[in-house]
């Protein structure tokens, strides 16, 4: 899952990005509205964390312009929490709201829900045969037994599971699992896929040669 955080307070941006990365997300950052809008329009992020008060282009303007081309789920961060502000945000096309100061746990939970809803799922439990993915606890179990996965591996499974039945290209995977700071080697993905096959069974992820991967 790749997330863009647009926040102008550097310390808050850094700590949010770090905490989200530790949660297994690929995180891009932008310190102002213009940069944020450019990035949000250029990539298909799984979610956007957008601060309302930004220098230059403010959060409302970013949201309004973004909605002309993208349906990316947007979580607004705001210091103003009057009902009028919330209504305005939701009407402009925000998907959810978090009022500063917030708890990281709440922010994570809301982001998970946002991403889940965007993928058309309403529960945080995905079942594929004997495999159960708990997106809230970020745990995978197979036939009732927990499977140890690295954060990246988990992200890969989750992404494929959320796009079950679709062919997910390598480009998509790169775009959603690695952020702009990752100096990814092109074979890193193959390493992750091969590790997953060892842990979850060789037949779990099928390779469509020339297209990408798929979970049937």
């Amino acid at each position: 899952m790749r997330i863009l955080v647009i926040e102008d307070e550097p310390d808050l941006l850094a700590s949010l990005a770090k905490a989200l990365r530790e949660e297994g997300y690929a995180v891009d950052t932008a310190a102002d509205g213009e940069d944020g809008l450019y990035k949000a329009e250029s990539w298909d992020y799984d979610a956007l964390v957008l601060d309302v008060m930004l220098p230059g282009l403010d959060g409302w303007a970013v949201l309004q312009r973004l909605r002309q081309s993208k349906k990316t789920p947007v979580l607004m961060l705001t210091a103003r929490d009057t009902p009028r502000d919330r209504v305005r945000g939701l009407d402009t096309g925000a998907d959810d709201y978090v009022v500063k100061p917030f708890d990281l746990e709440e922010l994570f939970a809301r982001l998970r829900a946002l991403i889940r809803r965007a993928a058309g799922k309403t529960q945080n439990r995905l079942e594929i045969g004997q495999l159960v993915i708990d997106t809230a606890a970020r745990r995978v179990s197979r036939a009732g037994r927990p499977v140890e996965l690295t954060a990246r591996e988990y992200a890969l499974v989750e992404f494929l599971a959320l796009h079950r039945g679709e062919v997910v290209t390598r480009t998509m995977l790169y775009e959603h699992l690695f952020d702009e700071d990752d100096s990814t080697l092109s074979n890193l993905l193959d390493v992750h896929v091969s590790n997953l096959r060892k842990k979850l069974g060789a037949e779990f992820i099928t390779t469509r040669r020339g297209h990408g991967y798929c979970i049937e």
Binding site: D8, E9, P10, D11, L12, A14, S15, L16, K18, A19, E22, M53, L54, P55, G56, D58, L77, A79, R80, V99, K100, P101, F102, D103, L104, E105
Partner: protein
């Protein structure tokens, strides 16, 4: 007693008292007048009757007693006057020519045309009864009367008129005036009931008038009560605006409006202040929650602590600014004013900022001529610091900031000019407002200023009765000028 404290009840009470006094006075006077008229009429009748009787008993002039020259009786001769006998001579002596004689005792003499019965009693000068008509009550006392005069009296239910005859007999005519007295009583009752009716009407009218007059007060107190429960948007509804109470209502409405505006400003200020605090609190929360989520290398902890420290310092700056503003608003800081050298003060404050200016490749120029003014050195120093650090923050790299202090006629003037991007004309009127930021965001380069720096400058200027003005050309830079009035021009 609650209603003794009510204006309406007190008005009503006074109104009622006045009405009672006026009505009682009027009624009593009317009754007295009526009574006097009545008695006068009775007396006239009695007088007429006296004449009738006199005529009947054959007096030549037929004139009543007391009307000289008189004569139902023989006129006295001068010699008789001289030889006025002793008082009892009349009693002892044989009936003389001056002795009263009642020749005819015709009952018709003692009644008039309307059938009223009169009586007549005559005493000689010694008070011995000489004649008594049939209808006379048995106990008519002999009236005390000065010689030659006449008088009347009310005795029980009878009215009596008496006089002296020239020879000295006391002649009394009376009649029963029971009917007249009953009429008087009826009249008194009529007056009393009319008075009661007028009193009731007057009280009702007074109640209506006071209700009407006091109704704006009811409206005012109702509105004030609603406002005191917290609804500051309430106003007094008044139809008439020209009366005294209408004026009062208008004045109160103005006051309420100003109160409301001040409350709203205060609420806005508090909301802005809390919003300003939210971001640094968010930093502390996310940093600590993320740092505590797992074991980390020492370097990461240090990084988190440093971020928390930055946030805390930002909060400290904000609370200091808020406190400064609160003190300036309450006027407690404006008390200490002493002569100070504005040029030295500006130079010192600017020098402190030189390292920051150099860091950002900005040239700082100070051009100060000795200038003295009255003021609080610490506060004026803060104005210089705020203006200069703003000028540095909003400058372009390689730009310059010029601080100039000069004495002008009647004022000490400090100007700070920068070569930054300037301020948009739309923002210009608002730059001194609290928490106002030209681009609606925190300006990082200004070190996270909350938008209070210029507001503090303005408040300090206000406390010094000084003018703080700004002029700006977009793209060229801005100039802030502080003009402190000086009572006597100094070189």
């Amino acid at each position: 007693m609650k209603f003794f404290h009510s204006i309406r009840w007190r008005l009503q009470l006074w109104h009622g008292l006045l009405l009672v006094v006026v009505l009682a006075g009027f009624g009593f006077t009317a009754w007295r007048l009526q009574r006097a008229t009545q008695f006068q009429r009775v007396d006239q009748e009695l007088d007429r009757q006296v004449q009738v009787i006199f005529r009947a008993i054959g007096g030549p002039g037929g004139k009543p007693p007391g009307h000289p020259p008189h004569d139902g009786f023989r006129p006295r001769r001068p010699e008789e006057r001289r030889s006025e006998p002793a008082p009892d001579r009349n009693e002892e002596g044989p009936p003389g020519p001056r002795e009263f004689a009642m020749p005819v005792l015709d009952a018709s003499l003692f009644a008039d045309e309307s059938g009223r019965t009169y009586y007549c009693v005559v005493w000689n000068r010694n008070g011995r009864e000489m004649f008594r008509s049939a209808a006379a009550p048995p106990d008519v006392p002999c009236p005390e009367l000065a010689v030659g005069s006449r008088d009347s009296r009310l005795r029980g239910t009878t009215r009596e008129l008496f006089s002296y005859t020239p020879p000295g007999e006391r002649f009394l005519v009376g009649r029963d005036i029971r009917d007249e007295l009953a009429g008087m009583r009826r009249f008194a009752w009529l007056l009393a009931s009319a008075g009661v009716v007028v009193l009731v009407l007057g009280l009702a009218g007074g109640w209506w008038v006071s209700t009407r007059a006091l109704s704006p007060i009811a409206a005012i107190s109702a509105a004030a009560a609603r406002i005191s429960t917290g609804d500051l948007a309430q106003r007094i509804q008044t139809a008439d605006t020209s009366s005294e109470l209408g004026n009062l209502a208008r004045v109160l409405n103005d006051t309420f409006a100003r109160l409301q505006a001040s409350f709203e400003r205060q609420a806005q200020f508090t909301a802005d202040a809390s919003h300003e605090l939210r971001t640094p609190v968010s930093v502390v929360l996310t940093q600590t929650q993320s740092a505590l989520a797992r074991e980390r290398p020492a370097a990461e902890y240090r990084e988190s602590l440093a971020a928390c420290q930055r946030a805390a310092q930002r909060m400290r700056r904000l609370t200091e600014s808020l406190l400064t503003l609160a003190r300036l608003d309450s006027g407690e800081a404006a008390t200490t004013r002493e002569p100070c050298d504005l040029d030295r003060l500006a130079g010192d404050a600017t020098e402190l900022l030189r390292p920051i200016a150099e860091e950002q490749k900005i040239t700082l120029e100070v051009e100060a001529t000795p200038t003295r003014c009255e003021g609080n050195a610490e506060q004026l120093g803060q104005v210089v610091t705020n203006l200069v650090s703003n000028a540095i923050s909003y400058n372009r790299p390689g730009g310059s900031v010029r601080v100039k202090v000069a004495a002008e006629p009647g004022a000490a003037v400090l100007t700070v000019t920068d070569t930054g991007q300037g301020i948009a004309p739309g923002d210009l009127p608002h730059v001194f407002e609290r928490f106002y930021r030209a681009d609606n965001s925190r300006n990082r380069r200004a070190g996270g200023g909350a938008g209070l720096g210029l507001a503090i400058c303005k408040a300090i200027a206000h406390a010094h009765h000084a003018a703080l003005e700004v002029a700006s050309t977009q793209g060229r830079g801005s100039t802030f000028a502080l003009r402190i009035p000086v009572t006597q021009a100094r070189k």
